[in-house]
C-alpha cells in the first residue's frame, strides 16, 4: 500500500514527486511512456513566463508568478540550465499598443516585478534585430528560459534518490474505489493507495472520468516549432513575444538555454491528442510570423522542427481540485504550466495535507542534484575533470561537446534511460546541427554495452521506436578460415 500514487510524469508529476519525496511517504509514480517528460513537457516554448499574461485572480496568474519566482533557486539547486534573459512583447500598431498597456497593468496586478514600456527605438536598442515596424514593447525582466525536460528530470531524479518508486510503460486503464482509498490498475499491475493525484496531461480528463462524473474535457491544441542553428542565436537575446490577439497568442522568437534560436508555435486544435506531427502549413505559418518580429532570421539554418500538444480544455483556469475524496486532479495545465510547475506542486501538497495526508519531514531526503557539463567548464575545470576521469577527454557528440563520461553518467543516472532520446534529454547529445548523425551509433553502442542488451533493443525514443532492424551476416559460418 502506498500513500500517494502520482499518475503521469511530466513536469507537474515530477515536481509533485520531488515535493512529496521530502516527507516520510510511500510514493509511486505511474507513467504511460518509457521516460520522464514525454508529453507537453518535452515540446513547448521552454519559457519561464514572468506572469503578465493570465487574468488577475486566476490560479494561472497566482501560480505563474510564484513558480517563476521559485525557478531560479530551484534550477541552481538542481543543476538545471536556466537563463534569466527577460522578455519583450512587441506591438506593431495603435491597437497593439493598447493591448500592451493592458498587459502592463495586468502584470502589475499579478505582482510581476520590473515591468516597463519601451518605445520602438528603445526596443531596438535592446534588440537590434527587432523589426523597424515595432512601435512599442512591454519589457518583463523576470522572464526566463529553461531546459524543460531537465527541469522535470531533475525533480524526478531527486525524488527517485529519496525513495519514490517510478514505474514506466504503465498506462492507467482503470481505478477502483476501495475502503482505504483506491486501487490503480495498469496492464502490468494493481496498486493500492490512499491518495491519487492525476497529473496525466492531455489524458487527465480520461483519468478523471475513471473516478468521477465528467467535469471538464481536454481540447488539445498542437503547436509547431523550428529550432535554428547556434549561428542564429544572436538574433534575439530576450524572448520576443507578439501581442495576444483574436488570431491567437502569437509566435515567439527566443534564444534557448542551449544557445539555439527557437521560433513557434502556431495553435491548431486537434482530434488525436497523442499525435504530435508537424505540418508544412504550420511550419510555414510559424516562419512567416517569426519574420514579422525579426525580419532577418535565416531559416536556412533550421536544424529541427517539432510539434507539441498543450492540454487546453473547456474551462479557462488550471484545474487543481478534488475529483473525489482523496483524488486530486491537476488537470488542464496548459501554458504557463511549465512556469507554474513548482508552485502547482506546493499548492497540491497543501490540498493533500488538508485532507489528511500526514506530512512528516524526511530528514535524510535531499532536495539537490549536482550535474557537471563539460561544455560549460573553464579550461582548468576541463583539465581537472579529465585527470579525474579520462572519459571526459572523449567527445562523443561533437556538435554539442558532450563527452563519454557524461553519456555514461546519463545511462547510470537514477532513472535509467533506454533510448537515444533519453540520453539526449539527460546529456544534451544529438541536439546540435548534425542531429545525432555522428553520435547516435556511438550512443547505441554505449547503451547496449552498459545495459547489457543487444543494439537491436536500443530505442530511439518511446516504445516501439527501434533503430536497427537486424544483424547482417546472420548465416552459418560455413567458410570459417
Amino acid at each position: 500500500m502506498t500513500d500517494v500514487i502520482v499518475i503521469g510524469c511530466g513536469v507537474i508529476g515530477a515536481a509533485l514527486a520531488y515535493r512529496l519525496s521530502q516527507y516520510k511517504l510511500k510514493v509511486l509514480v505511474l507513467e504511460k511512456q518509457n521516460d520522464v517528460a514525454m508529453g507537453a513537457t518535452r515540446a513547448n516554448s521552454a519559457i519561464i513566463h514572468a506572469g503578465f499574461d493570465p487574468e488577475p485572480g486566476t490560479l494561472m496568474a497566482k501560480l505563474n508568478v510564484q513558480g517563476s519566482n521559485m525557478a531560479r533557486t530551484l534550477c541552481e539547486k538542481l543543476s538545471v540550465p536556466y537563463l534569466n534573459n527577460g522578455a519583450l512583447v512587441l506591438g506593431f500598431d495603435k491597437e497593439e499598443e493598447l493591448t500592451l498597456n493592458k498587459l502592463y497593468e495586468r502584470g502589475i496586478k499579478n505582482g510581476v516585478e520590473g515591468l516597463s514600456l519601451l518605445d520602438g527605438e528603445q526596443t531596438r536598442a535592446m534588440e537590434p534585430h527587432v523589426s523597424r515596424e515595432v512601435t512599442l514593447s512591454l519589457y518583463a525582466p523576470t522572464s526566463a528560459i529553461v531546459d524543460p525536460w531537465e527541469y522535470a528530470l531533475a525533480f524526478a531524479e531527486v525524488a527517485k534518490t529519496n525513495g519514490v518508486d517510478f514505474r514506466f510503460e504503465q498506462e492507467v486503464t482503470a481505478i477502483e474505489k476501495t475502503a482505504f482509498g483506491y486501487t490503480v490498475i495498469t496492464r502490468k499491475g494493481r496498486y493500492d493507495t490512499r491518495f491519487v493525484v492525476n497529473c496525466a496531461g492531455v489524458a487527465s480528463d480520461t483519468v478523471h472520468d475513471m473516478v468521477a462524473p465528467k467535469s471538464f474535457t481536454i481540447r488539445p491544441v498542437r503547436g509547431d516549432y523550428c529550432v535554428l542553428d547556434k549561428n542564429e542565436n544572436s538574433k534575439a537575446h530576450c524572448t520576443l513575444f507578439q501581442c495576444p490577439s483574436k488570431s491567437g497568442k502569437g509566435v515567439l522568437v527566443t534564444p534557448t538555454v542551449h544557445g539555439n534560436l527557437l521560433v513557434g508555435p502556431n495553435a491548431v486544435p486537434c482530434e488525436d491528442k497523442f499525435r504530435v506531427n508537424t505540418t508544412a502549413d504550420g511550419i510555414d505559418f510559424v516562419k512567416r510570423m517569426a519574420l514579422r518580429s525579426v525580419p532577418d532570421v535565416d531559416f536556412r539554418s533550421t536544424i529541427r522542427s517539432y510539434a507539441g500538444m498543450r492540454a487546453n480544455h473547456d474551462r479557462d483556469d488550471f484545474i487543481i481540485e478534488f475529483a473525489a475524496p482523496a483524488f486530486l486532479d491537476i488537470a488542464g495545465i496548459k501554458s504557463p504550466g511549465l512556469s507554474a510547475a513548482p508552485a502547482i506542486a506546493l499548492e497540491a501538497l497543501k490540498l493533500l495535507e488538508g485532507v489528511g495526508l500526514p506530512m512528516e519531514r524526511n530528514p535524510s531526503a535531499t532536495d539537490e542534484r549536482k550535474k557537471l557539463r563539460f561544455r560549460n567548464m573553464t579550461v582548468e575545470e576541463r583539465q581537472r575533470a579529465i585527470s579525474e576521469n579520462p572519459l571526459y577527454g572523449r567527445v562523443i557528440c561533437r556538435c554539442e561537446t558532450v563527452t563519454e563520461a557524461e553519456i555514461l553518467g546519463a545511462i547510470h543516472s537514477p532513472l535509467t534511460p533506454h533510448s537515444i532520446d533519453g540520453i539526449k534529454r539527460r546529456a544534451g547529445s544529438g541536439m546540435g546541427r548534425c542531429q545525432g548523425g555522428f553520435c547516435s551509433p556511438k550512443i547505441v553502442e554505449l547503451l547496449a554495452r552498459e545495459l547489457g542488451i543487444s543494439p537491436l533493443e536500443v530505442l530511439k525514443d518511446g516504445a516501439g521506436s527501434y533503430i536497427l532492424d537486424s544483424e547482417t551476416k546472420d548465416g552459418e559460418k560455413a567458410n570459417e578460415l
Partner: protein, 114 residues
C-alpha cells in the same frame, strides 16, 4: 541499339552498343569504355563489395571485395557465400578470404587491415 551509361570511371559516358553490328560501341571516350559496352551487352560483370564477420578485431565487420569483376547474374549467390564467411583477426588488406568464389576463379579479398 542498346543505350548504356559507362560505369568504368566517374565520367559516365553515354554509350550506344549496336547488337546487330558486331556490338560496335559509340559514345565512349576511351578504349575501356568500348570494352565495357561490348561486355555489358554480351556478358555483364560487376565488382562486388560487402563485409564479412571478423572475430578478434575492434570492429565486427571486415570490408571485402571481389578481386575482379564477376558475372552480374551471380551477385546474390555471391552474397550468400560472403554472408556465411567469418574470419579471425589479424587480416591484411589484399588477403583472400574466399578463394575461387562460386567457381569463377575470382577471390574475395579483404580491403582493410584489421
Amino acid at each position: 541499339m542498346k543505350e548504356l551509361i559507362c560505369i568504368v570511371c566517374p565520367r559516365g559516358c553515354h554509350l550506344q552498343v549496336d547488337e546487330d553490328n558486331g556490338f560496335a560501341v559509340t559514345g565512349n571516350s576511351c578504349p575501356r569504355g568500348a570494352e565495357y559496352g561490348r561486355n555489358e551487352a554480351v556478358h555483364p560483370v560487376r565488382t562486388l563489395t560487402s563485409t564479412v564477420r571478423i572475430e578478434g578485431a575492434p570492429i565486427t565487420r571486415l570490408p571485402v571485395r571481389t578481386a575482379s569483376a564477376i558475372p552480374k547474374a551471380l551477385l546474390f549467390d555471391a552474397m550468400n557465400e560472403i554472408n556465411r564467411t567469418s574470419v579471425h583477426a589479424p587480416v591484411k588488406r589484399g588477403q583472400a578470404v574466399i578463394k575461387d568464389l562460386l567457381g569463377t576463379g575470382v577471390d574475395v579479398i579483404a580491403t582493410r587491415d584489421l
